[in-house]
Each structure stands twice: as structure tokens, then as C-alpha cells.
């Protein structure tokens, strides 16, 4: 096995090794791809509770009285929608051409405090972009941006996930966290717990100080929560119809061609967010391509970059995999907007038939397609 010279370790690295994690490089971090069988881990999350080390993701705290206005310009979705404390929003961050720089979640914690979580792989790009937008503000701007590298994150997901997490909390915290509605977060003494996730199951994402992360991991293990690797994370999110930045979209792709139209807040019409003009034009003209789900009807596995052939022209698979919950292969694909019902996918010189569907493929453990 080769040495990763520059790979970073999260505070949970030793825990992964202890649990027999197969470590691989992900965005410059040494992370567990599985702990034995990614199919077993996938099923564990769909049927019980599993946990992911997502400490490599980036927590950014925005503080100051000018934060709201700044985020309203920076993001395609509108933080003004967040009126209740702790409410979260999923949004794209676009460039001037309307391309997606990243997809992220932002929590409204106070009028002068918003917390944002962005992808590990896009950390440098995102920060460079955000700082350049800040620099073009006038003097006396009240906004401080803090990169919270002192924080780790564990995502606990599955039908039994919330119950197991709540068991670990003391009474008044347990009550508050138990009352959390989906897509809300709450700050406790040391932990920040949000009812969000990337698997299509219920659960929590827990932000915890670095030096407390290993203890929390052990406590969750003791409750029967199993460690889950990145391999299962990918099959779970794909079944849930969730995009992965870098494969399903990138800076050259508009949110309208990435199934993200629902994340754009067009109203109020005078909110001039970055990229608005470009995607408004595209919306008026109609996008050439759209992101859809595919279910393979023949034996085989759909994989990224395979060619998709439709009656209205060609497209491409963006993310493909074998779905452990459905027992067939599924994918997200970018195809001509007019295509519908079915198509063919070219796999090793054969043309296999696939059904065009609307994601998600699985919700709360049940097949939707």
C-alpha cells in the first residue's frame, strides 16, 4: 500500500483504522471507503443506523449585521426564507456565467450569525470566491468569516438514528433535539445538531469540537451505530436522488441542467444574486439538457461518462452505481430536455435499455421507481 504523503487525517482517523477501514484518498484526506462490505453498510443505514465521518467538510461561520444581505447576493436560493431559528437551506453558489461553484447548506442561527457547510473538495475554490466577493464590498462592512477547522462532524443516519443519538444527551438537550423538525439545527453547549443528511433516511448531522469527536464516535458505537464508509455514502445518496458536486455538476454546468431548478429563488425579482442574469436567460429560452434518473432494465452496471442515446439526441451518465436497495443499477444522467420514457446506454459496445425516471429512487427504505 502506498504512503499518502500529503493526506490529512480527521480526528477520527484512528477509529477508522481500529474498525478495519480501508483507507483511500478523498480530496486530500485519508478516509474509509468501507470497513469490509459497502453493500452491508448501505443496508445498515436503510434498516437501522450508521454513522459517517464527514469532518473533512468545511464549516464556515458568517457573523455581522451585513451577513444576510451578503448571502442574499452570494447564493441562488434566498436566506430570507429562513425565518425560524435553526432553519436550514440547500443552495447552489453560482458564478457570473450561472455555473455551479458548489452546492451547500446554510443555517440561520441569528440575524447576525449564519453557518454554512461546504464540500471538502471545493474548499479552496469556494473560499477564494467568497473572499473575492467580500473584497469588492465597501469599507465599514460588518461581516466576519471564520473557518471552523476546530470542528469535526459525524452524520448519523437511518430509521433508528435519531433515537440512538438522543439517548446520549442529557434530559433538557434530549428534549430540544427530540423536537427538531426536519431541516432544522440547534446549538447545544458543545454540539451543533441538525436534522439533515445525505442518505434519504432520517437522522442527524452532529458538529462536534475536534477533541471530543473520538469520544462521541465511541458512545455512538456503544449504542449499536455502525461505521459506514464513503462507498456506501455514494450508493445511499444516489438512491436518494442527491447530487454529488464534481460529478453531477461543476462550474461549467447551470443549476437548470443539474436538477437544481427547485433550489433557485426567483422571487423577489429584485434580488440580484450572482449568476441570476445568466440563468434567467437560459430559463426563458429553455435549457437544452436536463438531469434525470435512469433505471437499467438489463443486467449490468451504469457508470459515469457512459453514453446515453435518446430519440432526441445523446447525453451522458453523470453518476451511476448498483443500487443495493433496489437490486438493479441506477444513475443520474444529463440528457436532452425533450427525451422521456426510455433510452439506451452504451456499455462495452452493447446498447442496454434504461427507463427514464424522476429521482429519488428510494425514500424511507421504500422503492419509488
Amino acid at each position: 500500500m502506498s504512503e499518502q504523503n500529503n493526506s490529512q487525517h480527521t480526528p477520527l482517523y484512528e477509529k477508522h483504522v481500529e474498525a478495519d477501514g480501508k483507507m483511500v484518498d478523498f480530496a486530500g484526506w485519508e478516509m474509509p471507503i468501507n470497513y469490509g462490505s459497502q453493500v452491508t453498510e448501505h443496508k445498515q443505514v436503510r434498516e437501522d443506523a450508521g454513522m459517517f465521518d464527514v469532518s473533512h467538510m468545511v464549516v464556515l461561520d458568517f457573523k455581522g449585521s451585513d451577513v444576510k444581505a451578503f448571502l442574499q447576493k452570494l447564493l441562488a436560493n434566498d436566506v430570507a426564507k429562513l425565518k425560524d431559528q435553526g432553519k436550514a437551506l440547500y443552495s447552489g453558489m453560482l458564478n457570473h456565467e450561472g455555473g455551479v461553484i458548489d452546492d451547500l447548506i446554510v443555517y440561520y442561527l441569528a440575524d447576525d450569525f449564519y453557518r454554512m457547510v461546504v464540500n471538502a473538495a471545493t474548499r479552496e475554490n469556494d473560499l477564494k470566491w467568497i473572499h473575492s466577493q467580500l473584497q469588492s464590498q465597501t469599507e465599514g462592512y460588518d461581516l466576519q468569516l471564520v473557518e471552523r477547522d476546530d470542528l469535526a462532524m459525524i452524520a448519523v443516519q437511518g430509521p433508528n438514528a435519531r433515537e440512538k443519538v438522543i439517548k446520549l444527551l442529557k434530559d433538557d438537550d434530549a428534549e430540544k433535539v427530540g423536537a427538531l423538525k426536519p431541516f432544522f439545527g440547534i446549538e447545544l453547549d458543545e454540539l451543533f445538531i441538525a436534522r439533515t443528511g445525505y442518505t434519504g433516511e432520517d437522522g442527524f448531522e452532529i458538529i462536534v469540537p475536534n477533541d471530543k469527536a473520538a469520544d462521541l464516535w465511541d458512545e455512538l458505537l456503544a449504542e449499536g451505530v455502525k461505521p459506514i464508509g464513503l462507498g456506501a455514502r455514494d450508493t445511499l445518496r444516489l438512491e436518494a436522488g442527491m447530487n454529488l458536486y464534481g460529478t453531477d455538476m461543476d462550474e461549467g454546468i447551470s443549476p437548470l441542467a443539474a436538477g437544481m431548478g427547485w433550489t433557485i429563488a426567483w422571487e423577489p425579482t429584485d434580488r440580484d444574486f450572482i449568476g441570476r442574469k445568466a440563468i434567467e436567460k437560459e430559463k426563458a429560452e429553455g435549457s437544452a439538457m436536463k438531469l434525470v434518473g435512469l433505471v437499467l432494465e438489463d443486467k449490468g452496471v451504469l457508470r459515469g461518462h457512459q453514453k446515453v442515446i435518446t430519440e432526441h439526441g445523446e447525453g451522458e451518465i453523470t453518476s451511476g452505481t448498483f443500487s443495493p436497495s433496489l437490486g438493479v443499477s441506477i444513475a443520474l444522467a444529463r440528457i436532452p430536455s425533450a427525451a422521456k420514457d426510455s433510452c439506451h446506454v452504451e456499455i462495452r459496445s452493447k446498447q442496454l435499455k434504461a427507463r427514464i425516471v424522476r429521482p429519488p429512487f428510494v425514500r424511507n427504505g421504500k422503492a419509488l421507481v
Binding site: M1, S37, Q38, V39, G231, T235, V301, R303, F322
Partner: protein
């Protein structure tokens, strides 16, 4: 440290093994080392019965969650049997790579070709050097 690769088998550089069935045919599968590299197997494309294969010829595909891996015939010969269990239980390749996860059986064109393959110790040395 003992060799986990059974000593009665022969091995190829592409991680296939052969077992002498004593009746002129040899069973072929992939090694434990190979299944570990592949990850969970989800589909197997088996060679067709009675096909005549050349040595190192592509004779099937093993699809795992990670990737599609070509399978190569270890020797020249005719396919005499295929493991149809793998249609419904492809994961046998992961759980029993040297046993129930066998893939097909072949009748060699030349018995010397089998003897020219690596034994268990040579195979272990080979993949340890090359990983």
C-alpha cells in the same frame, strides 16, 4: 506467516486460480486477493459453454460496485461448465472465492500449460511485490 492461497491450486498474474478436478477438466475462479480488490460483486457475465478460449483471452466480466473487471482465461481450452449460482448469488465470489464462488470449468488444450502457471508461494510473492 502461512499462505492463505490453497496449495493445491495454480495461479495466474491476473489473479485467477485453477483446480484439478481429476477428470481432465479444471475449475477456474478468482483469488481472495482479487475479490478484496474488487469489492462487493453484483453481476457476473459468464463465458458460454463449449466456447474455445485462448490463453489470456477475455472470457467474461465481473462487475462490482466499484468497477467492471475483465476475466481472462488462464489457459487455452474449452469451457465445460459454468457456475449458474452466480446469476442469483454473485456475492459468492466475495464470500467463498476458492469454493462456492468458482466461475467456470475448462478442458485444457495442453496439460503443460497448467503446470507452467504459478504455485501458491510464487503467486503470493507475485502480488506482494506488485501491490
Amino acid at each position: 506467516m502461512s499462505n492463505e492461497n490453497p496449495s493445491d491450486l495454480r495461479y495466474t498474474e491476473t489473479h485467477e486460480w485453477l483446480r484439478d478436478n481429476g477428470d481432465g477438466t479444471y475449475t477456474v475462479g478468482i483469488t481472495d486477493h482479487a475479490q478484496g480488490l474488487l469489492g462487493d460483486v453484483v453481476y457476473v457475465e459468464l463465458p458460454e459453454l463449449e466456447t474455445v478460449l485462448n490463453a489470456e483471452e477475455n472470457c467474461g466480466v465481473i462487475e462490482s460496485v466499484k468497477a467492471a473487471s475483465d476475466m481472462f482465461s488462464p489457459i487455452e481450452g474449452e469451457v465445460t461448465e459454468v457456475n449458474e449460482e452466480l446469476d442469483s448469488e454473485p456475492e459468492l465470489i466475495n464470500t467463498a472465492p476458492f469454493g462456492e464462488g468458482w466461475i467456470f470449468a475448462i478442458k485444457p488444450a495442453n496439460i503443460e500449460d497448467v503446470e507452467a502457471l504459478m504455485d501458491a508461494d510464487q503467486y503470493e510473492a507475485f502480488y506482494q511485490e506488485n501491490s
